[in-house]
Symmetry: C2
């Protein structure tokens, strides 16, 4: 299902997750792809600690920055690769921003907003429902989270 291009994009998202890990942030990373050119248009990792902002998840940072850069509220020409299933806040923001496709690595049964019972994209409240693909490099995406929380517990 996934080709080398997909893997390269998720590798870039994982790099952002690792940078987040090094900042002591929950290690989730994401990249925005401009669909037409296929290029990585923006990349981000969580910065809730650094920015003192509980909404500064990787996905929100990307949406905020790209919309501001383009002077728009919607970015339907972009796809999002993110290491972990988006939470309900991010899943809703992704819908509002009209992102075309979301490709995530590992599911997050504990805090996810898509595959968990929250299942935001099955709700009529969310008018735009992005296409969803999952499982790309899921082991690596999940492992960095496990490492982070294991370190927190010691």
């Amino acid at each position: 299902m996934f080709d080398e291009t997909d893997h390269n994009r998720m590798r870039a998202a994982l790099e952002e997750a690792r940078l987040a890990f090094d900042r002591d942030e929950v290690p989730i990373g994401a990249v925005l792809i401009h669909r037409e050119t296929g290029e990585i248009a923006a990349r981000a990792g969580n910065r809730t600690l650094e920015q003192c902002d509980p909404t500064s998840h990787a996905e929100i940072l990307l949406i905020r920055d790209m919309c501001k850069k383009l002077g728009v509220q919607r970015i339907p020409d972009y796809d999002l690769y993110v290491t972990i299933e988006p939470c309900p806040m991010c899943a809703a923001a992704i819908s509002y921003a009209r992102i075309g496709t979301v490709i995530f690595g590992a599911t997050d049964p504990k805090s996810g907003g898509i595959t968990s019972p929250v299942a935001l994209y099955t709700q009529p409240q969310l008018h735009h429902k992005p296409a969803i693909l999952s499982g790309l490099m899921s082991d690596a995406c999940a492992q960095i989270m496990k490492d982070f929380f294991a370190r927190k517990r010691t």
Copy 2:
């Protein structure tokens, strides 16, 4: 159930909604109350158009600004008054910020995240569930939304 203090706070939120209306933004307003002093600590209305940011809902702006001001990620000493039921994105952000009580005016069966089938605060994904009170000045809170969308359709 609601006293004069509650009404004054919702009047302040409604003023923010009216200012949003005048900016051609979806007219939702909100205020943050410092529980101990009872004072209005911050106020905001939607600014998604102005800021080119689909996440710039009144509630998100308040959380972002107050957390930054205090240098924290959680503001459990604050309550939120908002004219309309928060959407799923805002409902999740309110939970992450650990806001104590949410008092909203009118329900939003179309896009709400609390009373609608989304019902975020019934989900185990959201660890912190704020206390919820609703119906405070709901007619006035709903009317300004109706006026806004009626104007949009003409």
